[in-house]
Symmetry: C2
Amino acid sequence: MRELRKDPVLNRWVIVSTERSLRPSDFESFNPEQHGANGHVIDPFAEGNEHLTPPEIFAVRSPDSRPNGPGWQVRVIPNKFPALGIEGDLDPRGYGLYDRMNGVGAHEVIIETPRSEEHLPDFSLPHLVDILTTVRTRIEDLSRDLRFAYVLPFKNHGYAAGASLRHAHSQIIATPVVPARVLEELQAAQAHWNQKRRSIFVDILDQELLMQERIVFENEQTVAFCPYASSSPFEVHIYPRRMSPYLRTASTEDLRGLAEAIKTVVLRWQVALGDPAYNLLIRSAPNETLLSGIHRDYPYMEAFYLWHVEMFPRLARGAGFEWGTGFSINPTPPEEAAQYMRSIEVEVA
Amino acid sequence: MRELRKDPVLNRWVIVSTERSLRPSDFESFNPEQHGANGHVIDPFAEGNEHLTPPEIFAVRSPDSRPNGPGWQVRVIPNKFPALGIEGDLDPRGYGLYDRMNGVGAHEVIIETPRSEEHLPDFSLPHLVDILTTVRTRIEDLSRDLRFAYVLPFKNHGYAAGASLRHAHSQIIATPVVPARVLEELQAAQAHWNQKRRSIFVDILDQELLMQERIVFENEQTVAFCPYASSSPFEVHIYPRRMSPYLRTASTEDLRGLAEAIKTVVLRWQVALGDPAYNLLIRSAPNETLLSGIHRDYPYMEAFYLWHVEMFPRLARGAGFEWGTGFSINPTPPEEAAQYMRSIEVEVA
């Protein structure tokens, strides 16, 4: 069973997906690590173990190598236990008062490296650009599917951030509805546009550059800063300087700048916070579909939306108050976090 | 420093509060347990240790006992490390593009029992009614403060739910702005009212009673059910049968019915899930204040809002996808959770 159900009070969709876990004891995310005869952990994402994963969708690999064999640098596979299934129609239906549709979507895994013990801070900049280029390619492809209103690439690193496997990887989920969180962004950005005919994202970037209080890192393509209302300590957003609603329009040079910014932030986090668990998200504008009706509801979206990256270390446990209100309690002012992070020297190459 | 800052893209307030934690190593909630000379843990919430807490605000205590001494059953104290401070004016100001105000509010702790090792399932029903009556009293009192737009009583039980102290306790936070999560509820409920002139909450209750698929427990005063779009496994909402927007209007008989429902749910969770960490929230309608303007924005609120309780075990770690979208992935259909919970026999007295 894979179903999307709408909370009628919060207007928010929930994925009810029994494919991922069937027993109450299984609530931790499924751990795909396999154990060999001698009890050693077998890493299904390592080079040479391609037969342990579903067939690849895309890979950056050497010209003389063959799909689903060794010789790759970045590899994309379907998630073996997807939250949403790729087959079928949405078939939106009422159920009395309630709304439901089939749990249709895409759920892919980007294996970021062929090597088991290598993580983002170890990647060379060209390798990180290969990963981001792979993300861009997958977004482009998934955005062509007329069922998918939103495509979210994200990375969970470390147990506290929800990662269930140590091998460095990211995920992409494509959903048939625009998530509530994204609609909130669009509503606020549209209200700002209606009032000022300016992009709220560009206004934020301008104010951060003017004030210089919360900037963490700048290069020619991007600006990394701790947001004024950071919901968690050491949260960092990375905005491109070149206005565009979609990551898929980013040039390789843009992605090189982004790679440098991401690696700088993670390296500085390592110095400041040890090796924190963290989440990283890439936000692009949603896609027009029959269900999303996004161009009708947000006709100026392409003028005001700015694709960007959000990154936050997972340092605190969310508790009842945060859940119950949407408020966060942040014990570290972003000005202090940014100042501390600026002071850390790191080698990015 | 205690400040409220508004996220301009998500229209959501964040509490930046350095009072609670100053160093990056302190991100876990402050642990108020104290250690005695022999290394034993001293429980500041236990009877006899009243001098280790701030002076009490309210207590259910025997007539011959004295404030801040032994002889109590339930005791309310200010949180020693409050997220919001009780003194001062809000002084809302702009900061360039951004919005801020002083971090003014209330943050109280309800010590639910004088005994260190007793938890909710051990409480007698009359004792649980004493706790709920105490909550009602504190809500009434805090709602009289013209600065506070919203009062949220909540309970974090267990480490994964954010509790920092083992001794059974709840908390109440009063905030000067209406939280985003609550505004979302009001907007959806108002849209329903505008279309149907009915309360969405009452419609949900009616459909659950009609279908009988997701009911966990019923008594004369309340109905406990797993919501259709449960965002987490074994989530339970408890609605009162008697329509009212405010918990403060609940009679002692209503609270007795609520106590029975809450205890039944927690006892059944224990059988189904072990001793899960969980959060419990009591939602009432927000208060009219100069800043909230709630009566102007939601003139029919008192006709459509229904106070209720939300309870969810903390079984899964939130990951990047959930954070990035507001979507939850729930591996247990609420129908199955409710059926399982209905089948569990427990002794509630």
